[in-house]
Symmetry: C2
């Protein structure tokens, strides 16, 4: 699925034409960062860097696209010639996918000729913003239910095809166990899970018949949906059917509950199964869940083994967007600063250093100018931005999503405990600004030349 | 961009295999509807039907996809053979795009062999749900700012590529004037608009230089962004530059403000331009807007000519999803009813009749069984569900988005005035349930056979 180079905002093309007219093709430095965290996020998780690299490597205008631009009549022939041969030739640094990050910290930096760095803004944000939203939300569920199976069920109400696919990937990167979206399994090598739907039960003359048909047809252990009519009555039927099927070599591994008071039903169903000596049958729940309901259900002692989380995960319903920006920090060797009210940025090429205590728990970060030392007292700060592309080419083969997920799970254990809770941490994580960076910002503000 | 047939939930494939094993391939009737409206929506607008038809017409499994399924090992060879030759052969009825709709009203009905109708559920919802969300939100802005230019600026924070493209289309269908997303212009024939970014100003040695470069490079009238450093100071510069450029044949059509108190800045800027005899210069604003801010700005008398609306539109931030469902209503000629707690559905093949007063204003709707008359007293109800596919083929050529938008704008004038406001209307729109439908539901509930 190559991206179209026209998947950008119109003004990017207008500005490119103007840059070329004015021969402003020197090196620009842009950084992607989040201005502030959503109310219900103590940290964010970076994701989508891999798809960003794929986009940048594959960037080109097709003949059909150039012809359409020509017909649209807004651009000159010389500019269209430039677009025809355009490839991304820049350098990109980024944080590792699965890295926790905080306000003001650049997570992607692009260093490229100004027109190229400008063109890619819209899609770069479109990819990294969304995957980071979903990974951040997924990690919260992973923190409150570390021993549980967490499955992305949210394809149907994700915002289009790519949202469904990206959400499947990003939720796995954020600590989920897998997805129900089949194509995401194929594209990203994700574990694919699924149960059955109410319609399957309804299409049969009886619930028992539906359960038997499904179990016999299914390859591998099966999970039955038991809330179509009456949850406890259906659990009794499962308790009767399971041993009989097991004798035929067919394993029912569990049931799914999708409506009503999930905690109360889970307790009832567990009791029914335990009474029938079916301690191994697992209880899986779904239906308008997110990490807060999961936490409440587990706190109430509900005997639940796994959760299917749909819409609220794939739309990040409680924080459907981040206040993020991709800003010019330097052009032709000179640092730049935007000063719009409420939207001022830290200028220059920056690096983020992360300090940890002797147990590996993160203490604080420092936002500094690149080249500033990340060491202080007896601590060495780890630099978070790392080279991923040079001269338009990727530097490293893609990491598997499984390795990225392992990284994330390790990172989650290093976040300060107060930030690992769902409740907003006061104070939040500390991000210091280096003295040299503060000084540079002050100097730029005083410099009337840039007006 | 053909959709992958694997863009579906895993359980759809498992259920299909089980249906085929049990030879349950008779005709099923599924309907897509919304259970309840979000708190801030007095009506919803249907959109995405055109893309749904495209998906269903193009549905097929590629050799690569079949090979991947085979490798995954969950399905039998006979089932994979069935998938290999599968095409969608069903009938689809749907409401016209741009039609207002309400809770419980089916907006899409699929009548097809059970396995086909089941497979398409996930993507069908994924397309229609998202476009309807955005069209519904866009229509609210169109209602509060009917004389203004409304542009979708939200690509960068939309949830992936397709969300950006679908949002551009759906917002236009919902009454917007156009989009900044170039590819959406190419794909859907939408008007494309754009201004300039802060980075363009920052990359230049001075703001004046940036304005002049941009205006001279741009083909056609140009809009300048004036809030990078100091909005009013920049407006004064524009007032100086504009006549000089105009003498060179270059038209500055307006300015964009993107930060601070937009209403206050707009008034200041208007005053500066009017004093300079530049009454024709238009003021365009953007920055964290949605229909509520637009209403407030206009109510405050801010002299604003157009609005760029981004993230909150393309993520439908105040209602990022709908409580919608695609439910089996009939199988093999017998009506079906799901009775899960809080999620019971109206059974059978249904139709929605809409009644209007003598001025064409909608009075109420009636949800009835298909074949029930839509007439009562001296009123004839208009049937909203109309045939769009038969035997897997589309019945009509695609309607242009411009025609769909015209329909929508007409429809908005027919919604009862109390529902046209942003504030929740109490009571909401009246949707009656026909006596025969109530009776059918009661009969199914009493029929213990379906347990």
């Amino acid at each position: 699925m190559p991206d179209s180079a026209l998947l950008t905002d119109s003004y990017q093309l207008s500005m490119m034409q103007a840059y070329l007219d004015a021969q402003m093709t020197k090196t620009a430095v842009f950084e992607l960062f989040v201005r502030r965290l959503p109310a219900k996020r103590n940290f964010l998780i970076a994701a989508g860097i891999e798809q960003l690299i794929g986009y940048l490597e594959g960037l080109r205008f097709t003949g059909e696209e150039i012809a359409w631009l020509q017909k649209a009549g807004k651009f000159r022939a010389s500019f269209l010639d430039y677009l025809r041969q355009l490839r991304f030739s820049g350098d990109v640094d980024a944080v590792d996918e699965g890295t926790p990050f905080f306000a003001d910290e650049p997570i992607v930096r692009v260093i490229a000729p100004l027109p190229e760095a400008q063109l890619v803004e819209s899609r770069l944000m479109n990819i990294v913003h969304f995957q980071s939203i979903v990974a951040s939300k997924a990690a919260r569920a992973a923190l409150v239910a570390p021993e549980k199976i967490l499955i992305d069920f949210g394809m149907r109400r994700a915002h289009g095809a790519e949202a469904a696919l990206f959400a499947a990937r990003a939720s796995y990167v954020g600590g989920y166990s897998g997805t129900s979206t089949v194509q995401a399994g194929m594209l990203y090598d994700l574990p694919v899970y699924g149960t059955m739907a109410h319609s399957f039960v309804q299409a049969h003359a009886s619930e028992e018949e539906a359960f038997e048909h499904f179990a016999k047809s299914h390859t591998g252990p099966v999970t039955l949906l038991i809330d179509t009519y009456d949850t406890e009555a259906a659990a009794e039927k499962v308790a009767q059917i399971a041993p009989r099927l097991f004798a035929q070599g067919i394993a029912i591994q569990g049931v799914r509950l999708d409506s009503g008071d999930l905690g109360a039903h889970a307790k009832n169903v567990r009791r029914i199964f335990d009474r029938a000596q079916l301690q191994g049958l697992r209880i899986f729940v779904s239906g308008s869940l997110d990490e807060e309901q999961i936490q409440d259900l587990l706190a109430s002692g509900a005997p639940i083994d796994g959760f299917g989380v749909g819409t609220r995960l794939t739309t990040s319903a409680d924080a459907p967007y981040l206040d993020c920006a991709y800003k010019l920090q330097e052009y032709a060797g000179t640092p730049r600063r935007k000063k719009s009210e409420g939207k001022a940025t830290w200028p220059g090429r920056k690096q983020v250093y992360r300090f940890q205590d002797t147990n590996g728990i993160y203490l604080r970060d420092r936002l500094a100018l690149e080249g500033e030392s990340g060491s202080e007292a007896n601590l060495n700060g780890a630099a978070l931005l790392k080279p991923v592309m040079r001269g338009g080419k990727r530097l490293h083969p893609p990491l598997s999503v499984h390795a990225v997920r392992e990284n994330l799970l390790r990172e989650l254990t290093r976040i300060p405990p107060s930030l690992r809770k769902l409740e907003p941490a006061k104070p939040g994580y500390r991000v210091e600004i280096s003295d040299r960076l503060v000084e540079l910002a002050r100097r730029l503000d005083q410099n009337s030349n840039i007006f």
